[in-house]
Symmetry: C2
Subunit: 355 residues, 2 copies
Amino acid sequence: MNVHEGNAVYNLTDSCVMPLTFQQLLSMDRDHDLDDVRMDYGTITGDPRLKKEILKMYRSAAEDNITFGQGCLQCSEMVMYTLLSPGDTVVTYTPSYQQFTDIPASIGCSVIQLKLYEEQGWQPLVSELEEVMQKPVRMVIINQPNNPTGSVFERAYLDRLISLCRKQGTWILCDEVYRGLYEEEISLSDLYEKCVCTSGLSKLYSLAGLRLGWIRGPREVIDLVNVRRDYSIISTGALTDTLALVALKNREKIIQRSLDIIEGCRREITEWLKHEARVSLVMPKYGTVSFPKYESRLSSSELAEGIQQKYGVFFVPGSCFDCEKHLRLTMTCPADTMREGLRLLSRYLDEADNS
Amino acid sequence: MNVHEGNAVYNLTDSCVMPLTFQQLLSMDRDHDLDDVRMDYGTITGDPRLKKEILKMYRSAAEDNITFGQGCLQCSEMVMYTLLSPGDTVVTYTPSYQQFTDIPASIGCSVIQLKLYEEQGWQPLVSELEEVMQKPVRMVIINQPNNPTGSVFERAYLDRLISLCRKQGTWILCDEVYRGLYEEEISLSDLYEKCVCTSGLSKLYSLAGLRLGWIRGPREVIDLVNVRRDYSIISTGALTDTLALVALKNREKIIQRSLDIIEGCRREITEWLKHEARVSLVMPKYGTVSFPKYESRLSSSELAEGIQQKYGVFFVPGSCFDCEKHLRLTMTCPADTMREGLRLLSRYLDEADNS
């Protein structure tokens, strides 16, 4: 993304809802005490007022179950480094975000990837899970809603997963950065006592620029992560904590804005699919991205590079998720950007396959 | 520090110059474009305008030699994880910051600590360096000016160190977060081609709350760190980059403020030492902290805990640096805080040793 994002005229692949400006964020709370904030480390383990707001997103947890990092990804990294050792077996899913596989592998873990089946609505198979969990598994890493498919595990699968993990004492690390558009989305950490969840303000809250993430987990994990933090980030800083508090106090307003944007995109995509027979999509109910499949002689990277060059439309190709003939499609851009970008995608497919 | 800092009435141990408030920072640059900053990731590898300002602190370097992290400490951590492997030999110095020893040890490196001798003005011995470098050393980690002593290596030692490292191809990681009060302080990365330097805005710039650090090093190291960042922090964010730019454009003003504060402390300490025979100090020329030695039956942690409890004076005890009968003494607080805190230290020593 680093190379191509800047040149995009139509960014049809971003997983963050269109960013707020600094002014838009501040205007949500006239009572903030930003001017007087001392630019120091702040409370080392995170502003207690911020923790209080975050606890509202979980059914049961105390302040000691929360700590912070520089974005959800870094939070997940800290959890992996804290709980994993060379030789451990880790189960992940594919397609999913590269970090979940690559960091355990770099630590020296043996990583088993279970498949999400598109024809099953991007669900995994219980039978495959049961098979891998016949041997000791240290950690299962999941991402709900999933990047890039937007899928969440069906309840029957989740129950089976938790019961198998409980039997072994297996940790679950669940990246929930896309959770929270709807009240019904339960955190996995409210269902399983050895689940560590991570999240942040980058995706649904349109505030990637704050670089604020958090971890919710059992006290003993949070304590270990806090020790690790003392050798690394120390804290997230008083400024970020103060601004994050403004955002979370206005959570409903920000989430409603995100829902409106996503709904607009969903309408454009649905309309376009009616007339675009070469593309099929398991339309996700949650999250901010989707993962359509297309028919063409072009590989996903040929398509993504070609259309960026010719029309300035930016897609992350399926090849980045080891899944050919797919593109990651955002649901977070302005509706007219979506409409025009999809029109150009159809045109590019026409031209490529008829030339 | 996490436990005790909050209760301190007289913080006589802080390594950061008294923090600026958000308003004080912003008032330095009426032309900033903060309101319109999009709260997104910003330029992934760091704002080019910010890199340009940072390059001014080095004699020769290009933008590709710079990348960013969340504070100097995290930058150093990323360098260690990038360049070190289990089994490597790493040379560090004592007393110094724990991170330099503990992270290599946690990676599985064999760590050799060389001593800084107080009676030599906190300098190491060339002979001891020559001895350890008879075997292969992967990395030498130094901190200039040093925390907690404020010392920097004498030029003869530095030259010998560089020549021994060059012969072997040994990396030097140099934490220079306390460098930059005076123009004469050369970066080690301007003297040795395999030196990676880290720094940040927390100490001399009074902006720990920005959590901005940077790495200056050879292109191949910066490229590797940038790949690592994609799995972790991604970026430092548009907001931090914008505010850091305000700070660095006003570098002279901020550094002059720090110099004034440090000078005020130095005067108070010098005056106090004239009448306090139980305490001796190698007064550092650079940096923000010093490391006085005291005579008492109390251990450093007994002294630090006792005086905090009785008089609210906060010191990091020498035991945190494996160096008994010492305290880390700041040079960054208001002069009257210093005066009163030192008066209470004398009184506490009286009471403790006469009871």
